[in-house]
């Protein structure tokens, strides 16, 4: 049994290694030194305390978006709208912090609450459309993403614009989420993110409501027959997952980004989906996978800068890592592979 679990970890690890080897070959073909490039990657991610802190900073929005997906999928809802919900949260938090005309920790709290509400609201809309009109949440959430992105464009070019570039004013200093260590960019937002991860895990696996939510996700008919309100659990999943993303947006804008600019938050939603699925919808694993995504992102920036390969090579390597890692763990579930391993270990244990 132990060995089987070991294989479940080992195989994805090997596949990630393989992805890197292919990446190295590409880098070699580009005329750069692959060993050095890997060196840059690690240096970029872990080389200095600042860099280490950057990976943590980078992981925060990813954790929230991953948890957003994780929570919804656990209830059988394919929420692809993480990005929109994240942005709505960010916009609401920013609007509160800018428009309230005061600054201070209480404004921060207010702004975060606003972010949660806005994200939850943006999740509620597709939820209502699903339960009221039966609309597939995959399309509606994609549409709502576009609307949110465009709405953000409106906010930073017109509504809350400040100055000559299309961007909003920055969050006032006292409203910013404070840093944990004065000279590192890590804020208490990361603590919130981890706490949300733990809370989601606790809720899903250690409470009756979470149990019922998962049951609805696995088998709505059986859940209905056994007295769970399928509709309200689904709505709840929509709202809570939106709220998690919204909280992420608020924490990011109040702690790291401070203002809205063009392209903000782009891709976070889909990263979240990938992260949650790679983590096999486990909230704690989601936090960890999100951190590895961030490491890859931060490290690869340095690798790109240091070795001079085009950014697209880095993207290719990142995609390869996802492709290989997930394929590796998927492989472990194949019937033939299962039989193979059980025979392998069966024989060894007998010996």
């Amino acid at each position: 049994m132990l060995k089987k679990n070991f294989m479940n970890v080992l195989i994805p690890m090997l596949s990630i290694l393989l992805a890197f080897i292919i990446g190295m070959i590409i880098i070699l073909c580009m005329g750069a030194n692959p060993i050095q490039a890997i060196g840059f990657l690690f240096r970029g991610a872990f080389g200095t305390v600042t860099n280490l802190s950057n990976t943590v900073v980078r992981s925060m929005p990813l954790i929230f978006c991953g948890l957003c997906t994780c929570f919804a999928y656990r209830c059988g809802i394919f929420n692809l709208g993480g990005e929109g919900q994240f942005l709505m949260g960010a916009m609401a938090a920013l609007a509160v912090s800018l428009l309230i005309g005061a600054e201070g920790p209480w404004v921060t709290v207010l702004a975060i609450v606003a972010g949660i509400l806005a994200g939850g609201f943006w999740g509620l809309l597709p939820g209502i459309l699903k339960s009221w009109r039966g609309l597939n949440e995959m399309i509606t959430t994609i549409m709502f993403n576009y609307v949110a992105v465009l709405f953000m464009g409106f906010v930073y070019t017109s509504a809350l614009r400040e100055g000559s570039v299309p961007q909003t004013a920055a969050v006032p200093d006292l409203t910013k989420i404070s840093r944990i260590f004065p000279n590192l960019r890590i804020t208490w937002g990361i603590v919130i993110a981890i706490l949300v991860g733990i809370a989601a895990w606790y809720f899903l696996f250690h409470t009756s409501k979470g149990f019922q939510l998962r049951a609805v996700g696995f088998n709505p008919t059986a859940s209905q027959f056994n007295g769970f309100s399928v509709k309200s659990y689904r709505l709840m999943a929509f709202v809570v997952s939106g709220a998690i993303a919204g909280l992420g947006g608020a924490s990011d804008i109040l702690g790291t980004q401070f203002r809205l600019i063009s392209g903000y938050g782009s891709g976070y939603g889909f990263d979240g989906v990938a992260i949650a699925l790679i983590a096999q919808l486990d909230p704690i694993a989601t936090v960890i996978v999100a951190y590895f995504f961030a490491v890859l992102r931060v490290g690869s920036t340095t690798m790109q800068v240091g070795s001079g390969v085009p950014t697209s090579v880095i993207d290719i390597i990142q995609a390869l890592v996802i492709i290989f890692a997930v394929a590796g763990s998927a492989m472990m579930h194949l019937p033939t592979v299962k039989v193979f391993f059980s025979n392998l270990f069966g024989k060894k244990e007998a010996a």
Binding site: A215, F218, N219, T221, N226
Partner: protein
Amino acid sequence: MEELLRMEGISKQFGEFFANRNVCFEVRAGEVHTLLGENGAGKSTLMNVLVGLYQPTSGSIFLHGKKVKIDSPAHAVKLGIGMVHQHFMLVEAMTVFENIILGDRRSKKPFIDVKERKKEILELSWKYGLNVELDEKITNIAVGAQQRVEILKALYRGAELLILDEPTAALTDVEVEGLYSIIEKLKAEGKSIVFISHKMREVLHVSDRITILRAGEAICTLDADKTTSQELANLMIGRELSEPIYSKVTQPGDPVIEFINVSYKKSFKHGGLSEVSLRVAKGEILGIAGVDGNGQSQLAQIAAGVIVNESGEVKLKGKKPSTFAPRGFIDERVSLIPEDRNLMGLVGDMSIEDNLVFKSTEDVRFSNFHGWLLKKNAIRQYSEELRDKYDIRCQSVAQETRNLSGGNQQKVILARELEAEPDLLIAVHPTRGLDIGATRYVRDSMIEARDKGCGVLLISADFDEVLQLSDRIIVLFEGQIMGEYSGKNPPIQEISLAMAGK
């Protein structure tokens, strides 16, 4: 008779588990050969190996004495092997006609020649007396009709060796008679049949030979006319099973549920109820007899609060239910053994223990703070107790229910529903597809519940079961009640006629 098929030393492994181990099995031309065994003995697995759906871990197959490697169902079709699967292989979104012609290779024409094909199929269905509505979607036809479609599908393909995996589980007695005559006709045409069923009567009636599987291994092969059901049961489960005689109750207590002129989708013959009035009292079993698809599902679902009646009144323990939803009914101690265990009863991706405490996670026994902290240890302990009490055979209670055999899945539901100490137990086809051991267990449990004062609403397409267990019998036909009969010495002839709408 000449040998048609021989399977030699077949083993099939799933993960660590062997569903078949070194099985040898042989079929002669023109015979009906029955596979008999408990749930999970590996009958279906063996046949799935034969039709190429599963690849055996080891062993070989010979057809007409020649070794063949059947690597896909397509190949099996080509070799003249057809199978009616235990779980319907019907595409619900398509019509009966489309389901029958699926994968058809009769002509090379790219387009479907609807007229010609329909004519052929109708001729076939007329020949074998299998009545089907070709243009109806599968979702809109009753289970019995679906079973007929499955059989027709196999016949349409014209197999030399036809495997029937529990084809009678969803058929009425009349339809079973029809199936017997189909089997006779096929035999007369020189075709061979592998028959799988848990009903001894049927097995002894149709078979020429019987092979018994136990825990994945073939125990022996017997000639049908030289054996008895006692001997078969003994070989199968290792002990004798006598036909039980259950006592009947004539003086029931207060009513637990009453239907007063209840209607639901009146115009639907196969999914509606019209002006149904009935009553189940404490300590009695009310049996609903009738061909499947005459409103039984709807009756059960209204009685469990899943769907709401359109007119009339439903009274629980003498009053209107406060919330007409499953939750409200569960709180009034109504338990349900649903007709489709995997769809409505269990969450296959969750463990046995989760399914056992499914409805009661907020109970103080299983959680603190009104459900905000589950007591995992208490749940584990409780589940293990139930596992032992209800004889649920599994590797561990943490195992997913999806991988259990049908009998054990049913036991999980039974355990959950009976442990809730219901005042009303609604049991829909509670023993469908179960082997004799499991069937006996389920029936005994229902009687025991009744004797403890629970009212039981038994809905079953198995007429024998209704007769055996019920204290009163009601016949349902096209959503209407055709008559009510005492369970003690019931007029069998009269009831059969009522079931046919006469």
